[in-house]
Symmetry: C2
Amino acid sequence: MNFSSKIEKCSYSPIRKFYPLQVECEKKGTKIYHLNIGQPDIRTPQGFFDAIKRFDDEVVEYAPSPGIPQLIDAVRNYYSGIGVELSAGDIVVTTGGSEALSLTFSTVLDDGDELLVPEPLYSNYLTFANLSGGKVVPIPTDPENGYRYACRELLQSYVSPRSRAILITNPGNPTGVVLTRDEMRIIADFAKDNGLFLIVDEVYREFVYGGQKLSSFSEFDDIDENLVIIDSVSKRFSACGARVGALISRNGEFMANIMKLCQARLSVATLDQLGAAEMYKTDKSFFDEVRCEYKKRRDAVCEELAKIPGVRFDVPEGAFYLMATLPVDDTDAFQRWLFTDFELDGETVMFAPGAGFYSSPGKGASEIRIAYVRNCDYLRRSIRLLAAGIEAYNARKA
Amino acid sequence: MNFSSKIEKCSYSPIRKFYPLQVECEKKGTKIYHLNIGQPDIRTPQGFFDAIKRFDDEVVEYAPSPGIPQLIDAVRNYYSGIGVELSAGDIVVTTGGSEALSLTFSTVLDDGDELLVPEPLYSNYLTFANLSGGKVVPIPTDPENGYRYACRELLQSYVSPRSRAILITNPGNPTGVVLTRDEMRIIADFAKDNGLFLIVDEVYREFVYGGQKLSSFSEFDDIDENLVIIDSVSKRFSACGARVGALISRNGEFMANIMKLCQARLSVATLDQLGAAEMYKTDKSFFDEVRCEYKKRRDAVCEELAKIPGVRFDVPEGAFYLMATLPVDDTDAFQRWLFTDFELDGETVMFAPGAGFYSSPGKGASEIRIAYVRNCDYLRRSIRLLAAGIEAYNARKA
């Protein structure tokens, strides 16, 4: 039996593909420290649980396809709080940011249409783009320049007659880059002038460590036709397993097309939507505390990483990821070896190999993505295991 | 801004597209009786709520991409109970049967590849097929022959070099057709002999009213390479809003490809999976009671429908839908009129117009799909409203 060319182009997630090896390794009794996955240990707001436990309908019914009104209102209120007014029709609730992405790609990309994405990129973008038949055109960035990409000449040089959209993550995954206001304007103008959809994944909005005001491309009032925002409660409220996201656009025709797909997939889980709506009532101090905690974690990771000979990285400004270049040829092979041939006091470490965050073949082989989503002690121990692993791995080859 | 050709081919759901009109109609104070949507009023098993209320982790974390082990085990046990042995790797948990369908289509259909589907069909198949770039080739059936389609010559006559799969719903939505064992064998042989994937949507398995043993194509042991089962807890346990389904296949290469997509979309909602796992422990008497109730409902609908002059239909053998032909030219226009120009004692009725269940242009215009998922009194009143509506609509034109 043959499979579609689309699926043949897809790869396993660099964040999740080692799950079977992880299970094997744990069977040996080895404890694994996770730097691979953006699964925070921050407590999910109590409101989520309260709303779900309060549910007393006899039947768990389908929700409306656009989302339950309470949650749509909650999202509107949240945006209003950062200075952005949305109408209910500008928002549809999705099964995580993931579904928002795949709905968007299917709606704007035809076979061979080009989606510009600064690289390194969130690897699942590649899978969703492949499924739509679209083609990711990576915009290369330089680790030595902090992976910054908001340069009009750079962006413009990748535009072709097949270009349909530009997709960015701000704050950045996996790079932690946070765009300045001027950079945002450059990108908005670039999309507008070239008639491109501007798809902005803003799921890490709260996680900025330089004292910036929370921002969104939806603050600009001249790119309504272009702009599509990908949003989610997963990281904002540490509720990844709720699978509740949102797709936001003021382009009415775009939203009308999206609604065809929303109706076909019927609805998003009802109880999780109720829980999500309640989470949006969480006091703002929650974000301040969480931001402060992540900043400490970032600093702990950077401090430990800086001690490892041959490791290079920039201090990330936002999100909770960091790209580091290791003194290792192939971080994918190194990770496998960490499962099968390494342990220190019964412990090993897991990261996401960098190559999976590049669309360009051969790039990122020496890089890794680190998610700093656990407490500082856990992270320090993880990075020390990484240091010991690098030393042993390179000694082995010598 | 332009949109993809894929989305331009998609339509709104005939089941959900009237939602805005419905809201307007309700604002006028009119009560709407719903025959349009398969949203049962059967109580969701208590186990679902108990499992969710028992959850006491501090963080709602991502679940594993294939699904939580408890739920995969529960699905295995359930299949074992109907005589089918599955291994854990044969099952992935999905966000409803809907996601199982879209993952499958993306994995097996390339642009222009053909998917054979007996018609009338569940309309959302068309949307998911369009998104994958595949093309639905409808296999026509005849209301006068009870919409039966398991005829080798008929099926074979629609095979082309681009045929990749046949998709059937058994028991049938929207027709209520239940395949006999011999018919199942004909279809299995057809798929096998032609090297086609056989995608069987078995979400209505429990809903058979002729005393049949519960069956699944997975009972056949010679079509492992071909067979993909679409399954869901939505109808089985009246938990549509949980959005928990499953994709089942013993084709290892197919499942390996599916896993790429499962990793990209990360996971299915964690709490709903816990609830679903618990529901699978529901006593078998639940199904017997529910089946008995639906049979009564079917009989009530048929009894009332039979009283309406000019209405034709067959008594459905399974699922909880019925296709009826009305003495009306265009049931879509008729439905709009029922919202805007009709009421009887402040009440009106809503069905799903038939054309949306056909891929062939022009077909089904006089047909409607009725979902008999509410209590008998509700259904009798609904059909009487339909009768009054037909009479007034046709009198208006005269």
